[in-house]
């Protein structure tokens, strides 16, 4: 993420405590302009708190936060971030148009300009027909778009999104993922996105920030994080992983079985303990020497539960994880 340009968001040694609980335990992060960055981790890892600190909703107990080079600590400075809330937080007593115009009205933008910008934004997000409706008359996906329009119309440098697809059903969520990614490319500003869904993070992000207990476990592209996890925690959280003896691990899709194992890649024999057909793939649980190895094979396979089986993997497919103590 280097480069010479100034980062859109810069965190230095940021710490936030709630009573005795350290929600954010020292975070350093630079976010380059125009990137789709995801803060990924389980609940309680500090990802939402970090987002709220960047947005100025929480004051860090230590450390510095800069957005577009300006420190976030002062309330008087014009802020460069806008937040899309998990609950959308649309104003229920205002129409879609009034909701979207709110930020421009607060910024004292001239009336004629407000009208034009709101219209353009509504058109851009396919909301022109809904302009006079109230939020409760809209579907979840439409409400989501209104929340995006309300934030984007004010032309922030950075858009913050707190699990914005959490309330949608799976199908709608997939569709909105596509729309979000297209939208981000379209407007070209930085998106910082919080989610606990690793698949969503992989699908959307230029950069994934994997978080664990208030710290950053790894920063990298989806491919980096998946293929070169920094430690066992990342390997386990992002995708499924078979942990092997030593510091080795192997992804289920890299486990080979039967006669397709090339010479030198055979690792042992076991027995199929469970088999589930998943449509595009088949998942096998292979029992060997008291442990269970998971293998994902493309399509259907003609192996039954209880069958003996040989398994293996190529050397280059094994993940070499650092020992637990080293970072």
């Amino acid at each position: 993420m280097g480069g010479t340009e100034q980062p859109d968001v810069r965190l230095r040694g940021v710490v936030k405590r709630f009573g005795a609980f350290e929600a954010v335990a020292g975070i350093d992060l630079d976010v380059a302009p125009g990137q789709f960055v995801t803060l990924l981790g389980p609940s309680g890892c500090g990802k939402t708190t970090t987002l709220r600190i960047i947005g100025g909703f929480e004051q860090p107990d230590a450390g510095e936060v800069f957005v577009a080079g300006v420190p976030v600590d002062s309330e008087t400075t014009k802020r460069h971030t806008r937040m899309v809330f998990q609950s959308y937080a649309l104003f229920p007593h205002m129409t879609v148009r009034q909701n979207v115009a709110f930020g421009l009205r607060m910024d004292k933008v001239p009336k004629g300009e407000i009208g034009a910008r709101v219209e353009a934004m509504l058109a851009n997000l396919g909301l022109s027909d809904q302009a006079e409706k109230y939020p409760r008359q809209l579907s979840g996906g439409q409400q989501q778009r209104v929340a995006l329009a309300r934030a984007l119309v004010t032309q922030p440098r950075v858009l913050l999104l707190d699990e914005p697809l959490g309330a949608l059903d799976l199908k709608m969520r997939k569709r909105m993922q596509g729309e979000l990614k297209a939208l981000q490319r379209n407007v070209g500003i930085t998106f910082i996105y919080v989610t606990h869904d690793q698949e969503e993070a992989m699908n959307l992000s230029d950069v994934i920030v994997v978080m664990e207990k208030g710290r950053i476990a790894q920063v990298g592209t989806p491919e980096d994080v998946y293929r070169r996890p920094a430690n066992a925690y990342v390997a386990d959280f992002v995708g499924e992983t078979n942990f092997l003896a030593g510091n080795l691990a192997v992804r289920p899709e890299n486990v080979l079985i039967g006669d397709v194992i090339p010479s030198g890649a055979a690792r042992g024999k076991g027995m199929v303990r469970a088999k589930s057909f998943l449509g595009a793939s088949t998942r096998l649980e292979i029992e060997t020497e008291g442990t269970t190895l998971v293998a994902t094979l493309p399509g259907a396979v003609s192996i039954a539960t209880g069958d003996p089986i040989a398994f293996g993997w190529r050397d280059e497919d094994a993940l070499h994880l650092p020992t637990k103590d080293s970072k």
């Binding site: 947005g55 909703f57 802020r79 971030t81 806008r82 937040m83 809330f85 998990q86 609950s87 937080a89 649309l90 104003f91 229920p92 007593h93 129409t95 709110f102 930020g103 607060m106 910024d107 809904q130 006079e132 409706k133 109230y134 008359q137 309300r150 934030a151 004010t154």
Partner: protein, 268 residues
């Protein structure tokens, strides 16, 4: 099937009985207020408006009605403003003490008005305030305050805190957030609270009895008139009071419904 229908009949009868018990006295009062007889007994003799006319000519009644309206109006203003400010303030600034403060503030609702009246009288004596309509207004505000506070608080509990955060994020000042977000969303609760305050004050007797000076409110006048028996004028007053109360409740209902309906219609 048969058991079902007979229990349904029983239930219907019981409901009718309860409704009769609740509304028959009010109905009789209204009927006798139009009856051309100075005693409230059947049979009805003739229709008349003379009890209303004599009421209108009654100086004591007119003054009392004016006093009651002044007191109730002022109580609405004070109790609603104080209760709303307290509700919003407690919700926003001392979330940890919310539960404690809410039960504390609801205490005056539990205290019998007799005790409240005596306590207020003692307090006014102590700080040497002369009894007048002002002291009645203060007393009524004490009575109505907890209702407003609790109604506003209840509404705030269901309030998504990210609404105010979103407004702040979009550049709204604290004052703007209050006027544009908090207040409109609280409006139905505030309206309800104001109407309850008015009703509480308008028919309050006990606290008024202890805290008024020489001025009388409407319930006090009724009380004094009752000493010579139930006159047709009292029936007329009661009928008017019921009509006014129902009208106010109706108006509130219409306002609330219309705000919802227009909200729903605008989107079509």
């Amino acid at each position: 099937m048969k058991a079902h229908s007979s229990s349904t009949i029983l239930l219907g009868l019981w409901t009718a009985f309860v409704l009769l018990f609740l509304f028959a006295p009010l109905f009789l009062v209204a009927v006798f207020s139009f009856n051309d007889s100075s005693i409230s007994v059947f049979p009805i003799r003739a229709f008349t408006l003379r009890w209303y006319e004599s009421l209108a000519a009654n100086e004591a009644f007119r003054t009392a009605l004016a006093n009651s309206l002044i007191v109730a109006g002022a109580t609405v203003v004070f109790a609603t403003l104080l209760g709303m400010a307290a509700g919003v303030g407690v919700h926003r600034y001392v979330p940890r003490l919310r539960t404690a403060l809410r039960s504390g503030a609801s205490l005056p609702m539990m205290v019998p008005h007799l005790i409240l009246g005596i306590a207020l009288l003692g307090f006014y004596n102590l700080v040497a305030i002369d009894l007048s309509l002002t002291t009645v207004i203060m007393g009524h505000s004490v009575v109505a305050f907890p209702y407003v506070f609790l109604i506003v608080s209840a509404r705030l509990v269901g309030f998504d805190p990210s609404l105010e955060e979103a407004a702040r994020d979009l550049g709204a000042s604290t004052a703007r957030i209050f006027w544009e977000i908090t207040l409109p969303l609280l409006a139905p609760a505030i309206l309800t609270a104001a109407l309850i305050s008015f009703t509480l004050s308008f028919d309050e007797v006990v606290v008024t009895f202890f805290t008024t000076g020489t001025d009388n409110t409407l319930p006090m006048v009724i009380w004094s008139m009752l000493r010579v028996g139930i006159t047709p004028e009292i029936n007329a007053i009661a009928t008017l009071t019921v009509v006014v109360s129902c009208a106010m409740a109706g108006v509130a209902e219409v306002i609330i419904r219309r705000s919802r309906l227009t909200a729903a219609k605008k989107g079509e």
